[in-house]
C-alpha cells in the first residue's frame, strides 16, 4: 500500500506507551511523519511538515495549550486534536481556545480514533473552503 495519498499525521506525547500505541492504531490510515515529546517539538514538527493532523497530549512538557497555539500561529493547515487522560472542563476549553478542533480521552479503540481524525480533517477542509 502506498502512503502517498494518506493524510499526514504527527504524534506529540511524552509517554512512550501512548505514542507507540497510537502509531500502531493509526499507521495504516495515516502517514505518520513525525513524533515529538513536548510543546517545542510540536512547533518544530508543524514548521517542518505542515501535517494534516496533529495529535497533541494536553499534559506533556511545555503543555498542550502552548503546542496548539504554536501550531495555529504557524500558518500550517494542521487540524490539532487534543488527547488527555481525562476530560476536565477547564482543559477542554483551554485546548479549544488555543486552536484544537476537538478533544479526545485516551483509551479509544483505533477505529474510533481514526474516525475522529478523519472528521476533523473534513471539518478543516470545509472551513478552508469557506475562508
Amino acid at each position: 500500500m502506498t502512503t502517498a495519498t494518506l493524510p499526514s499525521l504527527v504524534i506529540v506525547d511524552d509517554d512512550r506507551v501512548v505514542a507507540a500505541t497510537l502509531a500502531e492504531q493509526l499507521g495504516e490510515q495515516f502517514d505518520i511523519v513525525g513524533f515529538g515529546q513536548d510543546a517545542d517539538d510540536a512547533a518544530a514538527l508543524a514548521a517542518a511538515h505542515a501535517p494534516d493532523v496533529a495529535l497533541i497530549d494536553v499534559d506533556m512538557p511545555g503543555g498542550g495549550v502552548r503546542a496548539a497555539r504554536a501550531m495555529s500561529r504557524s500558518g500550517s493547515p494542521t487540524a490539532v486534536v487534543a488527547l488527555s487522560a481525562d476530560e476536565s472542563r477547564d482543559g477542554v476549553l483551554a485546548m479549544l481556545a488555543a486552536g484544537a478542533v476537538t478533544y479526545l480521552r485516551k483509551g479509544l479503540p483505533g477505529h474510533e480514533l481514526a474516525a475522529v481524525l478523519h472528521r476533523s480533517l473534513a471539518a478543516r477542509d470545509r472551513l478552508g473552503d469557506d475562508a
Binding site: 501512548v18 481525562d86 483509551g107
Partner: protein, 120 residues
C-alpha cells in the same frame, strides 16, 4: 446503583493492534508493565516527600498510559488520584500497596494471554 467495577484488563484495545501475537503489540504491553512499575514507585515517593502536585501529575500520566492499553482498573484509580485534593492524600505506603496489587493483576492478565501454557 454503584458504578461498574472496571476490569483489570480490557484486552480489546491491545487486540486491535494484534496482541498477543504481534511483536510490536507485545513490546507495547511489556513497555507498559515496566513503565507502570516505575510510575507506581514514583507516585509513592512523591507522596512521601509531600509533593502532592507531582503525585497528581504522575497519576495523571499513568492513567493515560493505562487507559491506552486497556488497563482499566489502574486507569480509573489513577484518575481518582490525579483529581484528589491535597487535604485527603493517601498514605504513600497504602497507595503503593494498592497500585501494586492492581498492577500485579493486570500483569497476570497480560502474561496469561501471552503465555497461555505457562505455570503462574
Amino acid at each position: 446503583m454503584s458504578a461498574p467495577v472496571p476490569p483489570d484488563l480490557d484486552s480489546s484495545l491491545l487486540e486491535d493492534i494484534g496482541w498477543p501475537e504481534a511483536p510490536a503489540a507485545r513490546h507495547i504491553a511489556a513497555l507498559y508493565r515496566e513503565q507502570a512499575r516505575e510510575s507506581v514507585e514514583a507516585i509513592a515517593a512523591a507522596l512521601a516527600a509531600g509533593e502532592a502536585g507531582r503525585a497528581h501529575r504522575l497519576a495523571h500520566g499513568l492513567a493515560g498510559s493505562s487507559a491506552t492499553v486497556g488497563a482499566a482498573a489502574m486507569a480509573a484509580r489513577c484518575r481518582e488520584l490525579a483529581h484528589g485534593g491535597g487535604a485527603d492524600l493517601p498514605a504513600p505506603a497504602d497507595i503503593r500497596d494498592e497500585l501494586t496489587r492492581i498492577l500485579a493483576r493486570t500483569e497476570a492478565a497480560m502474561l496469561g494471554r501471552e503465555n497461555p501454557g505457562a505455570t503462574p
